[in-house]
């Protein structure tokens, strides 16, 4: 408690700093938006000559590297807006992404929680997370860590591709892309400060402050975002699988913590854009690899990204964007050597990336996007660590060269997108991933059919920690179809089917021969299923209902198998139902209800060789927003997360030794937002 108290004093001091006047604006470093669904070439036809109907169809920004309206975009896409996040009172990115069909969460080791997509564990290199165009996956293991990590109150919108994105985005976008656009990069001449305070019964919950500001000086713009926060994972009791362990059970209050600092600065002048992101995430964890420790060592994840790009508008139809990027990751860092078994880990990675993107609108109906990328990854080992089982090997480097091309052609029969990416990794070998997408707009009905190859490029530690044979990229094929129908002006329904086949999946396991954690390419795995979403927006009520279902298909990875039920994989529920309803109330207030139902989940107690289940549960949250209270700049929110006190736990979606990690219990939340336009 004392530790959290000290942290909280720091958070309060930062909050005061944030409320001081000052500061400046920004934009993404991705190339500027390029409209596709335009009746005529916008490069040759001024916007002022377009009709109201044409203007209403113009996309404003880039959903992927090529801008398209959602219903015509070449992917199965979920868009989450700032309003939906604010209405829900979401505490962190887990709360936001939990509302996405097919997304659920699982436990890795060392108390790290992350994401699964459509029944597949996507934590390590299978989903790419972008913040204002910058990749935040670390490059040692390619993981992302969720749980009070990123500043959810500073998000303008999230564009989520719930399917493969490798053809354009490369080897970390095998099963999905989470593209986050910050408020500071989008809102000109605005200053914003937010604070949130959460309490569980026996410990503080999510307690965060953030600020964002942007300004313009002639043709220059600058944006700055800052975030600091602290949270307890839970105040429940954690029990491991080792009854003889003196620390078999312990209260997680002030033991399993998640502290975060995030800084994001962007500058733009004309075609020049730059961005700097510093992301520091610190956890304390006693669960480590399954045997609870007597105290909680610190684990640090530090990411620094610096990015420069210059967009050259060579002609109204042709745009060229060279880009330089430097990323340094120090993930999973733990320098405490006093523990047995050892938890020490001291490695970091650097990535140099240079790329060239060519955006060409060949005709009013045909556009091309192509690019070259050259990447050099280097892993560095600290004094007591090394690579490839060689105590003298302190560096491990490889290069990656990629070329990609994607073309879109619109015609009366259907719109056709064809794309492919070829990637040559100097350590892991070659990958070639083509894709084809057909979309058809029939007015009230929109149809899509997609067939994509994708791949996961092994990270530095995947390559270093191979078992018997060197690691190669895992290869995936995904078939998807989607139908979206506008039932009325206020109601729409979307249904999609998917079929995922993953060959040579890179699987983490404990090698009994080497007696250490290792990776190997297993045989194959995959899932198939459906997702459906219903939206109602009328007057004062806005409702979204979503259902998702998967079943295992062709899985031959024993680490994922559920005994006596080959239609489900470890870790993730087959059925998931989510709902969010917002009702506008008088006096600029609104009431929001979010609910998530998860069916039974399975996990494995590898220590005792016993399979166990997590019962179905309902997570229910209510949140009230009061906008422009006292002052037009001030808004308040209050609510309860996990109102029913459901005992949700994060479980491992593969055979390993970690017991279920309890999630937050009932948490009362207060939020405050101060926004100032100047």
């Amino acid at each position: 408690m004392e530790r959290l108290g000290r942290r909280w004093l720091g958070v309060q001091a930062l909050a005061l700093l944030f409320l001081l006047p000052g500061g400046l604006p920004a934009q993404e470093t991705t190339p500027p938006p390029k409209p596709i669904e335009v009746p005529e070439d916008p490069g040759s036809r001024p916007l002022a000559e377009m009709s109201l109907e044409e203007l209403s169809q113009l996309p404003v920004t880039v959903a992927s590297k090529s801008a398209q309206p959602l219903h015509k975009s070449s992917g199965i896409v979920t868009l989450i807006t700032r309003e939906e996040i604010q209405n829900s009172g979401a505490r962190d990115l887990i709360d936001v992404l939990r509302m996405v069909p097919g997304f659920e969460f699982g436990l890795d080791v060392r108390g790290v929680t992350s994401i699964g997509i459509r029944g597949n564990w996507a934590h390590e290199g299978k989903v790419l997370i972008l913040w204002d165009g910058q990749s935040l996956n670390e490059s040692l293991y390619s993981t992302i860590q969720l749980g009070n990590h990123y500043p959810v109150d500073l998000i303008e919108r999230i564009e989520i591709v719930r399917g493969p994105g490798s053809a354009v985005y490369g080897g970390m976008a095998e099963l999905g892309v989470i593209n986050i656009v910050s408020r500071a990069s989008r809102e000109a001449k605005t200053a914003l400060a937010t604070a949130s305070f959460g309490w569980m019964a026996h410990a503080p919950g999510h307690q965060n402050v953030s600020m964002a500001i942007n300004d313009r000086f002639g043709s220059r713009s600058l944006d700055v975002s800052l975030f600091a926060g602290s949270a307890n994972r839970s105040d429940r009791t954690m029990t491991d699988f080792h009854p003889g362990n003196p620390f078999h059970s312990f209260s997680m209050a002030n033991q399993e913590t998640m502290d975060s600092f995030f800084m994001n600065v962007g500058f733009r002048q004309g075609g020049f854009a730059s961005r700097l992101i510093v992301d520091k995430y610190r956890m304390t964890d006693r669960t480590m690899y399954g045997v609870n420790l007597g105290s909680a060592p610190r684990i640090d994840f530090l990411t620094t990204v610096a990015d420069l790009s210059y967009t050259l508008q060579l002609s109204p139809r042709l745009r060229l964007t060279p880009r330089l990027n430097y990323t340094r990751n120090t993930p999973w860092r733990c320098l405490d050597q006093s523990y047995r078994p050892p938890v020490y880990l001291d490695k970091w990675a650097e990535r140099y990336l240079s790329s060239l993107t060519l955006d060409y609108r060949a005709s009013p109906r045909t556009s091309l996007l192509s690019g070259l990328e050259f990447t050099k990854d280097t892993g560095h080992a600290g004094e007591k660590t090394f690579f490839l089982q060689d105590p003298t090997l302190k560096r491990l480097s490889y290069t990656n060269f990629a070329v990609y091309l994607q073309g879109l052609h619109e015609n009366t029969l259907a719109d056709l997108t064809l794309g492919a990416r070829f990637e040559r990794n100097s350590k892991a070998g070659n990958s070639f991933v083509p894709r084809v997408v057909l979309t058809k707009d029939l007015g009230v009905l929109h149809l899509k059919a997609l067939y994509s190859f994708a791949f996961r490029s092994p990270g530095i530690e995947n390559i270093s920690r191979y078992s018997s044979t060197p690691i190669t990229p895992e290869k995936t094929t995904v078939a998807e179809v989607e139908a979206a129908i506008r039932l009325t002006q206020q109601m729409s329904l979307t249904v999609n089917l998917f079929h995922i086949r993953i060959r040579d999946p890179i699987v983490f396991f404990f090698d009994p021969i080497l007696q250490r954690p290792a990776y190997h390419n297993a045989s194959r795995t995959g899932t198939r299923g459906l997702e459906t979403e219903f939206r109602l927006k009328s007057g004062i009520v806005y409702t979204t209902l979503a259902y998702s279902y998967y079943q295992a298909h062709g899985n031959q990875v024993s680490d994922y198998v559920v005994t006596a039920n080959d239609l489900i994989l470890l870790g993730f529920p087959q059925h998931k139902l989510t709902g969010q309803t917002t009702v506008q109330l008088p006096w600029r207030a609104s009431a929001n209800l979010t609910a998530t139902y998860l069916s039974k989940r399975y996990a494995m107690n590898s220590v005792q060789g016993i399979q166990y289940t997590e019962d179905p549960l309902l997570l229910l949250n209510v949140f009230l927003n009061f906008r422009q209270v006292i002052s037009s700049r001030l808004s308040f929110g209050a609510g309860v997360y996990n109102l029913l006190g459901a005992k949700y736990s994060f479980i491992q979606p593969y055979r390993s030794d970690n017991a279920p990690l309890p999630g937050p219990s009932r948490e009362f939340i207060l939020k405050m937002t101060y926004q100032y336009g100047f």
Partner: protein
């Protein structure tokens, strides 16, 4: 046991060379264009379209060639975008003129007044101040129409749409074309505002 790190090798520069060369050459030979703020430009084009589908009382114009004045509150970038997008154009023989305004009195001399989100603190003051003056108010803040504004921009997914407060426009003596109302995402009729 202490492991000695191997001597640092110089980082390869070759990957960057082609980039630098391209950057320098590109800058030398290409006439660079400013990156447009697309959202501002789309909204500017909307304003021009609104002007085409709204009828003002005859007394609002001194003569057939009198300018149609669009006032923009504040000194943000929107005014620049508006001038760039629709400057020099005409609506029914009226040349379109863009003016930056700061007071309600100045707004009353306009035909359209645009109230950007950056001026949210003044939005309500201007709506109330304009009252029943024949001035079309267009705004960006959430629920602009429910505050009594005439047309409010709304961000819907990746598109800019708009809502119309028909009662407020009628009260100001403005006639809105059915073509405009058909494209509106929502039309607030009397009793709904």
């Amino acid at each position: 046991m202490v492991f000695k790190a191997p001597a640092r090798r110089p980082r390869p520069l070759a990957p960057w060379l082609w980039f630098v060369a391209l950057f320098v050459c590109g800058r030398a030979v290409v006439h660079l264009q400013e990156n447009p703020d697309r959202e501002c430009e789309i909204k500017s084009a909307y304003l021009y379209n609104f002007a085409k589908f709204v009828e003002w009382p005859a007394a609002s114009f001194a003569d057939r060639q009198a300018p149609l004045v669009i006032g923009v509150l504040g000194h943000g970038l929107f005014g620049d975008s508006l001038e760039r997008t629709i400057g020099g154009r005409t609506v029914r023989e009226h040349p379109v003129v863009v003016r930056r305004i700061a007071t309600v009195e100045e707004a009353q001399k306009c035909h359209i007044v645009f109230l950007p989100a950056t001026e949210r603190k003044s939005t309500r003051h201007f709506i109330l101040g304009l009252g029943r003056s024949p001035v079309l108010t267009v705004g960006e803040i959430t629920d602009f129409c429910r505050f009594g504004g005439d047309i409010g921009f709304v961000r819907e997914a990746d598109h800019i749409r708009f809502e119309v407060n028909l009662a407020a426009a009628h009260a100001a003596g403005l006639t809105l074309s059915s073509q405009l109302l058909q494209v509106a995402r929502e039309v607030l009729k009397p009793g709904q505002e």
